[in-house]
């Protein structure tokens, strides 16, 4: 279980529900490290001061806000907390609204709200009331020194806090040239388009069917390369037992250990039988995954 990124309370009216906040989506992007082209060495980032050129450690960093060109005020974590001390601790519900009243473009990132022990009952009550009324709560919450607009929505057994954009963050559609909604489209054309939609329609949306194909392919390429790479260049000399006698001792102990392990389970485990791979599962004669769709035009 991931650790909570935030712990506080949902407040509405006189009710307080202690909760913890967890991320509800994992973004596992491909991550690369930069290496020196010539010798493969890792590249390190160092912070240097623009005044004396000296290297600066993390502990010596302080936040600064550029209030006019080249002029900064410094701001500490305490300063930020002091501005709205109560806001860092709560999801302050300000109103309730029907879900379809909110343009989905406002929704940004979902988080799970998990109740603390003594808040379980109130949590369940709020959740069930939301489900039955078909409404969501609009709240104000501060995460990582930023105030957010958020919605609290029931989702299965959970309450989900979904961060929302402020109105001024959405780009106005007027800035683009979209065809007007009443633009003339022939009925026959529309019919064909609808027919196409019908033939490609599914009963239920199954997101499990979709994968980040590009990422999978890049990973496969990387794995293949790691597997096939000439080993001498890539591998760092690992520390080894410095002399042959030490090495023999280490190996002897290791062999003796696995021998006694085997001895312990010898009753049901034939000595000659190789231990089976933990994760290896043979699937002999099982059909290959069926190709999703044949190319219709050859």
């Amino acid at each position: 279980m991931a650790h909570a990124i935030w712990s506080g309370a949902i407040n509405f009216g006189l009710v307080t529900i202690p909760v913890k906040l967890y991320t509800a989506v994992r973004t596992d992007d491909l991550r690369f490290n930069f290496l020196h082209k010539q010798d493969g060495g890792r590249i390190y980032n160092e912070r240097h001061c623009s005044i004396d050129g000296e290297k600066v450690e993390y502990g010596d960093l302080v936040r600064g806000y550029e209030y006019e060109k080249g002029r900064y005020v410094t701001v500490t974590d305490e300063d930020l907390k002091a501005v709205r001390p109560e806001a860092t601790q709560s999801v302050q519900i300000v109103e309730f609204v029907e879900l379809d009243q909110i343009n989905p473009m406002y929704f940004d990132t979902p988080y799970y709200l998990e109740p603390e022990k003594k808040g379980r009952h109130a949590y369940a009550l709020l959740r069930d009331a939301l489900i039955e009324s078909g409404k969501v709560a609009i709240a104000s919450v501060v995460i990582r020194s930023r105030e957010h607009l958020a919605a609290v929505k029931p989702n299965g057994a959970a309450l989900v806090l979904e961060l929302m954009h402020f109105a001024d963050e959405l780009v106005d559609q007027g800035a683009f040239d979209f065809p007007a909604l009443n633009e003339k489209v022939a009925d026959a054309e529309k019919k064909i388009a609808k027919l196409l939609i019908d033939t490609m329609s599914v009963e239920t949306f199954e997101p499990e069917q979709f994968h980040d194909k590009y990422k999978e392919d890049v990973l496969a390429m990387i794995e293949a390369r790691a597997n096939g790479e000439e080993i001498e260049a890539a591998e760092v000399q690992r520390p080894v037992a410095t002399n042959v006698v030490n090495l023999m001792d280490v190996l002897q102990r290791s062999l003796a250990q696995s021998k006694s392990r085997r001895g312990a389970s010898a009753a049901d485990d034939d000595e000659a039988e190789p231990k089976s791979a933990k994760k290896g599962t043979t699937r002999k004669k099982t059909p290959a995954a069926k190709p999703k769709r044949k190319k219709s035009a050859a």
């Binding site: 794995e223 001498e232 023999m248 190996l251 190789p274 231990k275 994760k279 599962t281 059909p287 290959a288």
Partner: protein, 328 residues
């Protein structure tokens, strides 16, 4: 182009039946080895000819294909671990973790009959890399492999001397070793193991042997991993190749190099012959076995390793014997 000529590049697929499976072989006259003119048809014919010899090694092991659909002029080939999506249903496979700590499982193809061998050759899988362990005991290797990699100016007699020293040192502790060409410059020395040691144990023993060899032949060998720091006339002893998910070039596999050399299992007598060679031409000598002459050798004499004796061996007694001999 006259109407009579067929479309350029694409030759008609040939349908053939192997082991009850109907296979459609495409582009048989596509040249894979441009300097020698060997085609994909030649590659398929080669693997069919040596099927009886190579299949015992491939039969139970996860396979990585090194494919060259456009011939070996392309720099690295396609290293394919994950079985292609279009693999026919009858081809066997195993789904397992590709290496310790890998994020996801991979479905490997298992080449256990002639039909599969022909099918993958038709994918221009020139080189066949296999795991050190077989299904289902994927955590316990069947062999230790030493890659004897000669420097550019290393004479063949020295390479042979080092290989023979491996044989003798291992025989001294009661272990039987086998040898094959890599199909590149060097030799692979192989020690078959009983599949009941984990990869760490096998690796530790491999290190022990490599260090012993370096101690015995300090002027002929090096354990220096950085190419730049190796003398160019000695043999680099690479013992770190064994590992879960790592692979080695299967015996009788073709290499993607000019001349279409084969990684050829040898009788030790052959290496003794090399020991007496005066010519410095190591590479040419090591690539003497090719797609052109190996089928006849196999037809005549079978797999040399069958005669040399592939026998799974325990490590405990070897270690006990090594202690007084190598401990000094």
């Amino acid at each position: 182009m006259t109407p009579a000529t067929r479309p350029r590049g694409k030759s008609a697929a040939v349908t053939t039946t192997v082991g009850g499976h109907v296979l459609s072989l495409t582009n048989g006259d596509k040249v894979l080895f441009p300097n020698d003119g060997y085609t994909k048809g030649d590659l398929i014919a080669y693997y069919r000819a040596v099927a009886g010899a190579i299949l015992p090694y491939l039969r139970h092991n996860p396979l990585t294909m090194e494919r060259y659909p456009d011939g070996i002029a392309m720099p690295r080939g396609i290293w394919e671990k994950q079985m292609p999506r279009f693999t026919p249903e009858w081809v066997h496979r195993v789904t397992t973790t590709p290496s310790t700590g890998a994020p996801r499982d991979v479905t490997f193809l298992i080449c256990d009959d002639e039909a599969t061998l022909v099918w993958i050759a038709n994918l221009a899988a020139i080189t066949l890399h296999i795991w050190f362990s077989h299904v289902p005991s994927l955590d316990t290797p069947d062999l230790i492999l030493f890659d004897l990699d000669p420097g550019e100016r290393c004479p063949i007699a020295r390479l042979a001397k080092v290989a023979l020293a491996f044989r003798d040192e291992l025989a001294g502790v009661g272990l039987n070793a086998l040898v094959k060409t890599t199909g590149g410059m060097g030799l692979h020395v192989v020690v078959p193991l009983e599949p009941r040691y984990d990869y760490e144990q096998a690796k530790a023993f491999a290190e022990l042997v490599a260090r012993r060899l370096f101690a015995v032949l300090p002027k002929d060998t090096t354990l220096e991993r950085a190419i730049a720091r190796r003398p160019d006339d000695v043999v680099y002893l690479d013992w770190v190749q064994v590992g879960k998910g790592k692979t080695y070039v299967a015996p009788f596999s073709v290499r993607a190099r000019d001349g279409a050399p084969v990684s050829m299992p040898l009788a030790w007598a052959e290496v003794e012959g090399m020991r007496r060679k005066r010519a410095p031409e190591t590479t040419a000598e090591m690539r003497r076995w090719t797609i052109a002459n190996v089928p006849a050798l196999v037809a005549k004499g079978g797999d040399p390793w069958q005669r040399e004796g592939w026998k799974p061996q325990p490590l405990e007694t070897a270690l006990t014997r090594a202690r007084p001999l190598w401990g000094k």
